[in-house]
């Protein structure tokens, strides 16, 4: 297997190789020993081939603390443009914020995310969006492990036939439940912060033994006899 990888890797730019290299190192076992990268993307829509990312927002969570100056907020130059969703996100095509090309943005994101666990609300969408962008630039998919606050939140709820659980819970519902201000909702970095605080509250409720246990808690509980 390894020689396929080696052969291919010659074609990849240095920043990708640097990124990939970091996965040779193992993640710490303890939940608290890890740095989590909480991310959110704002996109022009939900279509993975047609739509594009407008902005990536991410923050680092180390030992229950978030350092503001270490957060990431990258706006991406747009060719494809859908006026409907831009209205929601308030990011206009030629806004005054500094913008980067998609490749630059990916490069910055990979350098930032390193081998840390990526956390997001319904994270699979954000990951798929980033992967689609990587593919467009001739790069492989993200290698990071992921945690979904949407799935984890469900595990914090009571196991009882009395409570009617929903299929999925929105970030708004989580914010209400944990009394998190929704002031910057629908900006990438603002949503990432809400997700991060909800993530911390969830971890406190679930009390995972270690990182592996936390990953397993994304699945519904198993019942044995």
């Amino acid at each position: 297997m390894w020689f396929f990888k080696k052969k291919k890797s010659l074609e990849f730019p240095k920043f990708w190789l640097d990124y990939a290299q970091q996965f040779e190192e193992k993640l710490p076992q303890e939940v608290l020993g890890n740095t989590f990268v909480v991310l959110d993307t704002e996109t022009t829509g939900l279509n993975l081939t047609k739509d594009r990312m407008l902005c990536i927002g991410a923050i680092k969570l180390t030992n229950n603390a978030i350092s503001i100056k270490e957060s990431l907020e990258i706006y991406i130059e747009q060719e494809h443009y859908d006026s409907e969703s831009a209205e929601i996100h308030g990011i206009l095509k030629r806004s005054k914020k500094e913008q980067f090309s998609e490749l630059d943005a990916l490069q910055q994101f990979l350098a930032y995310a390193k081998n840390h666990v990526l956390v997001g609300h319904h994270v699979s969408f954000d990951i798929a969006m980033i992967n689609a962008a990587l593919r467009r630039n001739g790069l492989p998919h993200l290698k990071n492990k992921t945690l979904d606050t949407g799935l984890l939140y469900k595990r914090t709820l009571l196991i009882s036939s009395v409570l009617r659980k929903k299929e999925s819970y929105s970030l708004d519902e989580l914010a209400d439940k944990f009394r998190i201000s929704k002031k910057d909702r629908h900006t990438a970095l603002g949503d990432a912060l809400i997700t991060a605080i909800a993530f911390l509250a969830i971890i406190e409720k679930l009390k995972p033994k270690n990182l592996k246990d936390l990953f397993q808690k994304q699945n519904p509980p198993k019942f044995g006899l």
């Binding site: 927002g57 978030i66 503001i68 100056k69 439940k177 910057d184 912060l193 605080i197 911390l200």
Partner: protein, 639 residues
Amino acid sequence: MKNTISERVADFLKKYPPFNILAEHQLQKLAYEVTIIHKENNSIVFAEKEAPHNYFYVVHKGAVALTKKGSQHILDICDEGDIFGLRPLMAHEKYKLQATVREETILYAIPIEEFKPIALENHQVGDFLIESFASNTRNPYSIKHRGKLYGVSNDGEGTAENKLLDLQPVRYSTNLVTCTEETQIKVLANAMSLNSVGCILVTKNGLPIGIITDKDLRNKVATGMVPITKNAKAIMSTPVITYPKELTITQAQMALMKSRISHLCLTEDGTTDTPAVGILSKHDVMVALGNNPSVLMRAIKRATDSKRLRTIRHSIINLLQGYLEQNIPMGLVSKIISELNDATIKQVIQVCIGQMETPPPAKFTWLAMGSQGRGEQLLTTDQDNAILYEDVPEDKKEETQSYFLALGNRISVELNHIGFEYCPAEMMASNPLWCHSLQEWKEVTSHWMGNPGPDEVLLSSIFFDFNVTYGEKALADELSLHIFENAKKYPQFLTHLASGALQNPSPSGFFRDFLVEQDGAHKDFFDLKLRALMPIIDAARVLILSHSIKSINNTAERYEKLAELEPKNQELYTACSFASKALLKFRTKQGLLHNDSGRFIALDQLNKEEKIKLKRTFKTIKEIQELIQVRFQVKNLLR
């Protein structure tokens, strides 16, 4: 540099001193350097004698208690927007207090290196800090009252606290109700009732010249001495005794005692030649001392927002702690604390109704369920509540339900803010399943009683302890009546309810040792609620329901009533009543100790005497369970 988050942090800080004095660019720069820290309940931010951190802290959400080592006495509680841990950084000394998180808290840690140059450069910021350090208060500009313990003992610790108190400026009401000399007595009395104040200030050209209190109205008008048609001048006390507004609590106490009056008038410079700025009543001073239930009750009734109610709740918890330390009988304690909790909820409901755009479209009652309904909620546990409203015509149904759902939602959010956690099973009035009209509730309860599966039994065991907190009592009575009729109609329901009461796992094992949890977050802890409290509570409910006794919800009181009704079982019921009180006390003490609901007990932390006490209740639990098993023929039930 700034980003979306730093802008949000700056927006928050800007509301509180000294950050409100900073220039926009300074604040933005400072906010960019902030670290957001999440602390779980009971974790320590810094310990006494710890070397100073590189940061000082601002509470964004939650609460942090400052304590001195070896003492349970809380010196201060920092709430939203309060700064702590700054002084040691400025003075380069070690922390003198311990900061413990009292609930899930988010802190903003601000690096001292960034803040110091700003403080040195900006005189106003420097002044604020000097003033706040000198006066020993966190924030000299907006003083909130501090909770003090019930019956502080006379040791050194206590006097140290009193010293702090001496320096505390008093909180007075700035809502001045005034009239002129010519105002008619009837008019001014109306104004006093309208504003619910006990005194009115008589002013002339903006300066205070006299004061009229409730006492004046009673002694001079109601006795017929002065006819009600006369004006203010005839009954006012003059000249007004005035004091400067920078009064400390101790000074205010002295002043009130010295001149034997119930209200002080505070003016700009303390003389009658400057306009009045506030009125200070005896009650304000009592609240500041905050260790008396009747004073807290009045404070609750006067509170107009949840922020104020939140601080009152802290005082209630302190009061509870004091009661337990002094070994005051549990029955009395639970009554007082439940009354205070009830009043708090009532006040929240009242405030929320006021905030709705229209008054309620129909009569309704707010029902407290579960432990709160039974009057056994000493600590803040979950909110279990429901709304019951009167039947409305078919065409108004939807509209009415959506109104009450919106109201329920608002109330439950406010309660959560004060410190009542959300119910994990969402048994709250904001849930459409727990917000019904009388007819709907009758249908729902009939369904539960007619088809008693495990869920229905569970739901009814929670709901049937309902108690009216607010609103029309008649509606709840009608529902109770309906439930009793149904209990007679479906005798098998009681059997199922009894079987539910027997399903809780046993508290002790074969060798009479405690059974602890086998796994999960509470491994090796003893589940006091599930294994000891629930069986005894459930048993009381079945028995009292079988006797069709309504409006006795408290478990201990239920057993007392049962002892009265069944003299032959008197001994057992009295024992149950004692056991339920003892267990409740256990739970409360454990809860206060660990600042949680007190449900799980670490057995190795109990002393011998406590363990024996706990075990003694198990025998009673076993006996009452046997009684239920025989009486309701649970054995015949296919399980």
